[in-house]
């Protein structure tokens, strides 16, 4: 059953990765066609035509959106490839930054910004990248479910003592007015988060002093993967 599940995940990953390649081609066509229009406008500088500046502005917007599209397809492609291996060595900082970027839109629906903080040096762990991302996302969802509109969620990975941890900290409006830990324990997402992190061999705990969540992960003393 678990093998079938892994195959299903790998299949979704493979299809998604393939589509992101096609999306790159679509973006390349938009980039080159709008670029050509810019070139042609440049050639007309000596004989300006009506609304030339407006057209130039519109083309600049198109190029900006192409850049945005490229960033999104890169993230999606990486996410798709995360299912290539069920267990792999990853840098926790990198994974948290990646997950924050992927979940940004989800948080934006509540006007919340996700901020990933890196301690600098890499924290290498051998784990399931998909399950870890699911756990991090569920942690973010827990916070979002308790937060009013607006604010920030800070994600900070740390290598501490015998464990690695990811601190998810809520910084939102009117948070002090709710019994944070009590509400967290009542949240449906909390139970899911606990289960997910336990599957990774870790544990979760509320951060009682600062309205947040600690996700503890086992230290695997992993060295960086060879390229």
């Amino acid at each position: 059953m678990a093998e079938l599940k892994n195959r299903e995940i790998a299949f979704i990953g493979k299809m998604t990765a393939s589509i992101t390649h096609e999306m790159r081609n679509v973006l390349a066509i938009i980039q080159e066609s709008s670029g050509l229009m810019e070139d042609l406008i440049d050639l007309c500088q000596k004989t300006p035509f009506p609304y030339m500046d407006k057209m130039q502005d519109a083309l600049t917007h198109i190029q900006g959106q192409v850049k945005r599209g490229v960033e999104l397809t890169d993230r999606l492609n990486r996410f798709a490839h995360d299912s290539d291996e069920t267990i792999k060595t990853i840098d926790l900082n990198d994974m948290v930054t990646h997950l924050a970027a992927l979940s940004q839109r989800h948080a934006r629906l509540k006007n919340v910004r996700l901020k990933a903080h890196s301690p600098g040096s890499a924290i290498w762990v051998k784990t399931s990248p998909i399950q870890l991302q699911m756990a991090l996302f569920t942690g973010v969802e827990c916070c979002l479910s308790l937060m009013a509109t607006g604010g920030e969620i800070h994600l900070s990975p740390q290598g501490r003592g015998a464990k690695n941890l990811i601190h998810i900290l809520c910084d939102g409006n009117d948070l002090e007015k709710i019994p944070f830990v009590e509400s967290l324990f009542k949240s449906e997402k909390w139970a899911t988060l606990k289960k997910l992190v336990e599957c990774l061999g870790g544990s979760v705990a509320p951060d009682e002093s600062a309205r947040g969540i600690f996700i503890f992960l086992p230290k695997t003393n992993q060295s960086p993967p060879s390229v």
Partner: protein, 141 residues
């Protein structure tokens, strides 16, 4: 001096727009939409730099690259790809690619790579010429 370029990609619209932009900048550009078409063009013409897409139906970019290097060993090849990977970089360089660039690309960045690739090609060309000259003049031959 503007170089002779060959763009090889099955995305016809992309090739069309890119070639027009390079022509506006004074380059002499030919296009091909498959590996086979590219090889036929290379057999008939000399190119300074070839821009070669990796993911093409039929003969893919790496297969085409191997063939290019047997027909025109000193021609510089820049691979076009959707996503960067260390494996691809290693594979491309193993078969003689000069560099690779991610699609969609900034045109100025591409032009910079084309210049570098051309310089590299000139150096390779000179080395081959010197090698031939030395061998021809070898008194022990």
């Amino acid at each position: 001096m503007k170089y002779k370029l060959l763009i090889v990609d099955d995305e016809e619209k992309m090739v069309k727009y890119l070639s027009k932009r390079l022509v506006i900048r004074g380059y002499n550009v030919r296009t091909a939409f498959s590996g086979q078409e590219a090889l036929a063009a290379i057999k008939k013409n000399q190119f300074d730099v070839i821009l070669l897409d990796i993911m093409m139906p039929g003969m893919d970019g790496i297969e085409t690259l191997k063939e290019i290097k047997t027909i025109a060993p000193t021609t510089a090849v820049i691979l076009l790809t959707g996503h960067a990977s260390a494996k691809l970089d290693a594979e491309g360089r193993k078969w003689g690619a000069f560099d690779y660039i991610l699609k969609p690309f900034d045109l100025n960045g591409l032009i910079e790579k084309i210049h570098l690739a051309h310089q590299h090609r000139c150096r390779e060309h000179d080395s081959v010429a010197v090698y031939r000259e030395v061998n021809a003049a070898d008194p022990f031959d």
